[in-house]
């Protein structure tokens, strides 16, 4: 039996018709990306405001009062507590009562007037680092403009565009800050992994469960035709998802796109096909659709946890990193973040392309080998 493109086309056409008729699955393919975008994107990402803040004004001067007033008026900080000791601040931060604590040191105004650039301590609970970044930037901005207003008359010479004091910021609890820009591009890989594997995982088991496999096997169709024919329609679905995420990244989350989007479009193909191959291979092994879904989850969880999407990759123990290196999502995250955020080109992404290609080759070979041409 030779591979025949007309028969391949027959399978592709059939899959498209079935996809169109299966409203639930079709809804899932579009719905899951949307839900993930909203949950992961908005819930985690939106530029958080009105964060509870404690202030410890050890220096009770006009400057510190102005500063506090300015912070209070900004939309980023809600000054919910005024501390009277450093210990209090530490407790509140530890207990999560406040997100920020601002300490104005004792000699703040004296040093400021002398032009000695006093320190202003900004402490942040960075367990949720995405919540911190914007507010931090706001402090320096705010502090400059507010203080400058008080530096009038003989003090006007101290006005400057740079803050007349140093802001020392301490990020507690999470030294490696994952910026929100990380999440949306990463989401592209996560949702492709989830939906592509799940949907194709069902593809062959469904045929077997409904009895249509017996019929298919009694025709002269080639295993390669069946497998490739089932992959092609979902490549297009994958691209729809990619476009969705890129549009959301650009217009909803303002993710910078430094590198070439067409290059990303090209490279994402490899990743999509790798995931589809995993799904198809699972469905040649699984006895029924339930098993196929379970296997998809079995693959999805480590992908989610060990790829560097949820936790910083370098922060994981060695064994976890080794597992992570075997997963296509790990490499794809680097590719997509590299292209969008660092402006990487093809050359820089190559070290992460070949592991995906290798993965694809191995998995596809297993899939075609496992696809039984008989019912034995």
């Amino acid at each position: 039996m030779n591979f025949n493109f007309q028969r391949l086309f027959a399978i592709v056409l059939k899959e498209f018709i079935q996809m169109r008729r299966d409203r639930l699955t079709f809804g899932m393919m579009i719905g899951i990306p949307m839900i993930q975008l909203i949950l992961f994107g908005y819930a985690i990402n939106s530029n958080p405001k009105h964060l509870p803040t404690a202030v410890y004004a050890a220096d009770n001067s006009v400057f510190s009062r102005t500063l506090i007033w300015g912070l209070r008026n900004s939309s980023y900080f809600d000054i919910t507590r005024e501390a009277h000791s450093v210990a209090e601040i530490n407790t509140w931060l530890a207990e999560g009562k406040v997100q920020f604590a601002i300490t104005v040191p004792v000699d703040f105004s004296r040093k400021l007037l002398r032009g000695e650039k006093p320190d202003l301590l900004l402490e942040a609970d960075a367990t949720d680092p995405s919540a911190v970044g914007f507010a931090q930037a706001a402090v320096s901005q705010l502090a400059t403009t507010v203080i400058n207003r008080d530096l009038t008359g003989p003090l006007a010479k101290l006005q400057s565009s740079a803050p007349p004091f140093n802001i020392i910021s301490h990020q507690h609890y999470n030294p490696e800050s994952i910026s929100q820009y990380n999440i949306v591009p990463g989401l592209m890989g996560v949702m492709l992994t989830m939906t592509m594997i799940m949907i194709t995982g069902l593809a062959i088991t469904r045929e077997r469960e409904r009895g249509t496999m017996e019929n298919l096997l009694s025709t002269p169709v080639h295993p390669g035709e069946v497998i490739v024919g089932k992959i092609i329609p979902y490549i297009m679905v994958g691209y729809v998802q990619v476009i969705l995420v890129l549009l959301a990244a650009k217009f909803l989350f303002n993710v910078p796109m430094l590198g070439s989007v067409p290059l990303l479009f090209l490279l994402v193909l490899l990743f999509i096909v790798a995931n589809l191959a995993v799904g198809i291979t699972f469905s040649t092994v699984a006895k029924n659709q339930l098993q196929a879904v379970q296997m998809a989850f079995f693959f999805f969880l480590p992908s989610l946890l060990l790829s560097g999407y949820m936790f910083p990759f370098r922060g994981m123990p060695g064994w976890a990193q080794h597992i992570g290196e075997c997963l296509p999502l790990t490499h794809f995250l680097r590719v997509v973040r590299g292209i969008l955020l660092k402006g990487n080109g093809l050359a820089e992404t190559l070290p992460d392309l070949w592991p995906i290609a290798l993965f694809l080759t191995v998995v596809l070979a297993i899939g075609i080998k496992r696809y039984r041409q008989t019912l034995d």
């Binding site: 039996m1 025949n4 007309q6 028969r7 086309f9 027959a10 056409l13 059939k14 018709i17 079935q18 008729r21 299966d22 409904r210 009895g211 249509t212 496999m213 017996e214 019929n215 096997l217 009694s218 025709t219 002269p220 169709v221 008989t374 019912l375 034995d376």
Partner: protein
């Protein structure tokens, strides 16, 4: 008849699932244009045998040819010339009638695909309903669609696995009329069935139980080979009589048929001796020709003793 004149000519076909022999050393010869009935109880290996013929299962033993091709080595080529209709409806329920036919026609690389689909729809009488989803069809129509789909690539041999299970009598009769028409045009059929009326519409039969071939030939030959003597008893109090007769030496079957009772056994003398005392009763006794069903049940009982 020359060996190559047979459409199916296989010997020693054997299939094991683990240690269980499902098909045991079966030989079969089917002539062109013949409707060959394949009978046997559930789980007797009929489906397994058909699947081996069309390459869906790998036989553990046996040799022979199907359509002049080696049935073990050339199954790819056989698939192109055989239509196989599965026991369970196995077309796509979420595809329309037309889409299903078109899909199959594409897989067989039909040169005149559109015409073939159109012709098939016409023959089915489904031209107006072509857009209907296959899943919404009734059992009888599903079976007709399945047959039409099996025929679309103009096969020379059709393997039908219990094609009329769960189909009403009218639809079954129409179906068999269609089969006879097709056979007259030169198509060969191998059909498995449970129904005796269908068995008697076949040119020749084979009976298989527990993987073993027990009888084959025309209906009359099979009945004769069964060597069964049957008495028909009609009259009153048949149920009470049946209780008395059942279990007597030589009495192998006592079957109630509404107003009559059939009593049969292979040993005519022993049977007669056993039932003679009851013949003087109020009921009317008559020696009749054994039915196919009586023979098959008798064969099955014997087989159970021998093989299980």
């Amino acid at each position: 008849m020359n060996t190559s004149d047979y459409v199916i000519d296989v010997r020693g076909v054997t299939k094991k699932f683990g240690t269980r022999t499902v098909v045991n050393d079966i030989a079969m010869q089917v002539r062109p244009g013949e409707i060959y009935g394949f009978l046997g109880p559930n789980g007797s290996g009929k489906t397994t045998f058909l699947r081996m013929l069309c390459g869906l299962l790998t036989p553990d033993g046996g040799e022979g040819q199907c359509l002049g091709l080696d049935f073990r080595r050339e199954s790819a080529e056989i698939k192109k010339r055989v239509g196989y209709m599965t026991q369970k409806f196995s077309f796509y329920e979420d595809l329309s009638i037309e889409e299903n036919l078109d899909f199959i026609a594409r897989l067989y690389l039909m040169p005149q695909r559109k015409t073939a689909v159109e012709k098939s729809l016409e023959r089915l009488g489904m031209v107006e309903r072509r857009k209907q989803l296959a899943g919404t069809l009734s059992g009888g129509w599903k079976q007709r669609l399945a047959l039409a789909a099996c025929l679309i690539h103009e096969p020379q041999l059709l393997l039908l696995d219990e094609p009329t299970a769960g189909v009403d009598p009218k639809a079954r009769r129409d179906f068999w009329d269609e089969i006879h028409k097709l056979a007259a045009s030169g198509l060969t059929f191998l059909i498995t069935t449970h129904y005796m009326d269908e068995a008697s519409r076949c040119n020749r039969l084979a009976y298989i139980a527990y993987g073993n071939l027990l009888a084959r030939g025309t209906v009359n030959e099979v009945v004769k080979a069964g060597g069964l003597t049957t008495w028909e008893i009609s009259g009153e109090n048949l149920a009470a009589l049946a209780e008395k007769i059942r279990g007597l030496p030589g009495v192998e079957q006592v079957v109630a048929f509404g107003t009559a009772l059939h009593v049969s056994g292979r040993d005519a003398e022993k049977l007669r001796a056993s039932v003679a005392p009851f013949m003087s009763g109020a009921q009317r006794w008559e020696k009749i020709e054994s039915g196919l069903e009586d023979v098959f049940i008798s064969l099955m009982e014997t087989a159970k003793d021998n093989f299980s």
